[in-house]
Amino acid sequence: MDIVAFDTADFDFLFRKPAVILQQQFDMIPILILMVTTILVSVSRPWRYTILALVAQYLSVAWLVAMVWPIGLAAVKLVVGWMSSAILGATQTDKEDGEKGGFVVQGFLFRLFAIGVVWLVVFSVTPFVDNWFSAPVHLLWGSLLLIGVGLLQMGVSGEPFRIFVGLLTALAGFEILYASVESSVLVAGLLAIVNLGLALAGSYLMVVNTLEEL
């Protein structure tokens, strides 16, 4: 008869305080929001949904950053993210509703599948990345999810709007990770300027062909 050996770690949950368990569940909320928003950012065709997903995404980013930074400083990420979303949204028109050619089931399924692969990769490599950064695991998940989906978005899209959404998403992922190692106010400020600059550059490229010479 086989003797099953149990590790004491398997019963850790029995000895944890309820407050710690609650805290861990609470910290999972931004990750769950990010999982939803990353799907929406990637598969939704109307630009309004994409922008709304981006807005929710920045809420999660600020939430995650607030785990390692003071809330006041983390709020910068939220404000800047929302401003960037507003800048990108402001240059969209109803004509460009992202539905060129209509809804394609294969494209939708492909994107969904690709996001599934990204999730799989992210949750698989997190322990490895943890060796490098030693950040809270929720931060790593959030960060890697955003970086992965941002890269995916940049790789499969040809429209400036989608590409810049992907770029901002990937950059947001990097910012979460970087927040765990650096809490300089100046860096936060300069990164905010870079985010806004990217949104402005994206907006410019979306409408540049309709502009008259500056």
Binding site: W132, M154, G158, P160, I163, L167, A170, L171, F174, Y178, V181, E182, L186, V187, L190, L191, I193, V194, G197, L198, L200, A201, Y204, L205, V208, N209, L211, E212, E213, L214
Partner: protein, 462 residues
């Protein structure tokens, strides 16, 4: 007064002023070109950290300017670097008057130069990534003027340059830890890996180089040349700064092998692609990739001679890119020019044809043209340490020669009698540029000797 105010603040303020005057395009270009020249001359004459006597006033030119706890530092060895940047700027602005650039080129180009200088002067260095990113964002309206459809090249350019920023910032963070634990091999490897990826994105190193020919093919080649000349130059100087600062990086033996391998791959791939390319502006892009590859090969020599070759390569590259880019911009305007479109160009526009060939063949390393002396010296040194690499590099170089020969063949081919159709003023600029390529090729000594002064700023690399 601080040096940072003079060489960063003044160009930035001037860029803002000239932004409002941009409708006077020629005036802007001339004034900004003159300002660049003035800043280069001041870099030559003024003692950084010393006292200047001006109109009876004694003004101290402070080497360090501290803002929000961070510093912009100009050492006494930075004269050559400032002269190089603003001298190169003046050179590009001279040609801009006839290169059909947009109105935004002059003021935004000056702001880009200011950000790039700031990137080299800022301490700690991780802020350099943010300044370079700012410069990248300022190039967007310059590269794609209003009314033009943005293509894949500009989008990839922004993506790849932005991707470099996080890697360099993480490298900065890990570098500070490595300084405290220099024996930790795992940390060392991480720092080198992050730095390598950051620089690979910035320098369009294989396999992140696809945007270069795309960009040159879809925007004004002169503006693309401006970007592709300044960004790699600054990033290469930044890499010297890193090597100078971090002993663990200098002593990382695998680094030089990797540089040699990547440099050779860039030269070979660039050479193969350019040999089969039919579009002239894309050829220009591949030539830039090859030139960056040669600079990496010079760095890989890991010796004083290698560094001297590395710095002197800047001159040949500048002249070749300016002249080739100018000729392409004048020839193409907004349309794409292929080998078929240049048939008979030697008869209809001989100066333009000559400038294109001079730029192309100079980068290919044709004897008596600007790049040749440095290229020959580089290959002589390289063959001593890696003969097989030289063989591969030679194969890549032949690719660019083949492209040059295809250009000559197309330009000389004409079914009907081509009419002479060269405009005088652009022709004068191109002829002077071509002459400069030949003069530097025949008499390389004087200017290249001054360029070696760039190494004064990196005292640990002597």
């Amino acid at each position: 007064m601080s040096a940072a105010l003079l060489w960063i603040g003044v160009p930035l303020m001037a860029a803002m002023v000239f932004w409002f005057l941009r409708r006077q395009k020629l005036l802007c270009i001339l004034a900004i070109g003159a300002l660049n020249l003035l800043l280069a001359l001041l870099a030559w004459k003024l003692p950084i950290g010393g006292v200047i006597n001006f109109l009876g006033l004694s003004i101290e030119l402070k080497a360090v300017w501290t803002i929000l706890g961070r510093s912009f530092v100009f050492g006494s060895g930075d004269h050559s670097f400032l002269m190089l940047i603003f001298g190169m700027g003046a050179f590009w602005y001279i040609g801009a008057g006839v290169a059909k650039v947009g109105r935004t080129f002059a003021p935004l180009g000056l702001a880009v130069l200011a950000f790039l200088v700031a990137a080299l002067a800022v301490q700690p260095f991780l802020y350099a990534a943010l300044f370079i990113e700012a410069a990248v964002l300022f190039t967007v309206p310059m590269l794609v003027p209003p009314g033009q459809q943005p293509g894949k090249g500009i989008l990839r350019f922004v993506i790849f340059q932005t991707m470099a920023m996080p890697f360099i910032m993480f490298a900065g963070w890990i570098a500070t830890i490595v300084e405290a634990n220099p024996t930790d091999q795992r940390l060392l490897l991480q720092a080198v890996l992050f730095m390598a990826l950051g620089f690979a994105f910035w320098l369009a190193v294989f396999p992140f180089y696809s945007w270069v020919p795309l960009l040159t093919g879809e925007v004004n080649p002169y503006v693309a040349g401006f970007v592709l000349n300044f960004f790699p130059t600054i990033v290469f100087l930044l890499s010297l700064d890193f090597l100078n600062t971090f002993a663990w990086l200098r002593e990382f033996s695998l680094l030089y092998v990797a540089l040699r391998l990547i440099g050779a791959v860039m030269v070979v791939l660039g050479g193969i692609w350019v040999a089969f390319e039919r579009e002239l502006a894309r050829m220009y892009g591949y030539a830039v990739i090859m030139e960056n590859g040669f600079s990496l090969l010079a760095l890989s020599l890991h010796s004083r001679v290698g560094l001297e070759i590395f710095t002197t390569l800047f001159l040949g590259r500048l002249l070749s890119l300016v002249v080739w880019g100018l000729a392409l911009a004048i020839l193409s305007g907004q349309r794409r020019v292929t080998l078929d479109d240049v048939e008979g160009l030697l008869y209809s526009k001989p100066v333009t044809a000559g400038a294109i060939l001079a730029g192309c063949l100079s980068i290919a390393g044709l004897p008596l043209l600007a790049v040749f002396p440095m290229r020959l010296f580089l290959l002589e040194q390289l063959v001593k340490v890696a003969p097989v690499t030289v063989l591969w590099v030679f194969i890549g170089n032949i690719g660019l020669f083949v492209a040059g020969l295809r250009l000559v063949s197309s330009m000389a081919r004409s079914d009907q009698g081509a009419q002479f159709d060269e405009k005088v003023i652009p022709a004068v600029f191109m002829a002077l540029g071509t002459l400069a390529i030949i003069v530097v090729g025949v008499f390389p000594g004087w200017l290249t000797r001054n360029l070696v002064g760039l190494l004064d700023a990196f005292e640990r690399l002597q």
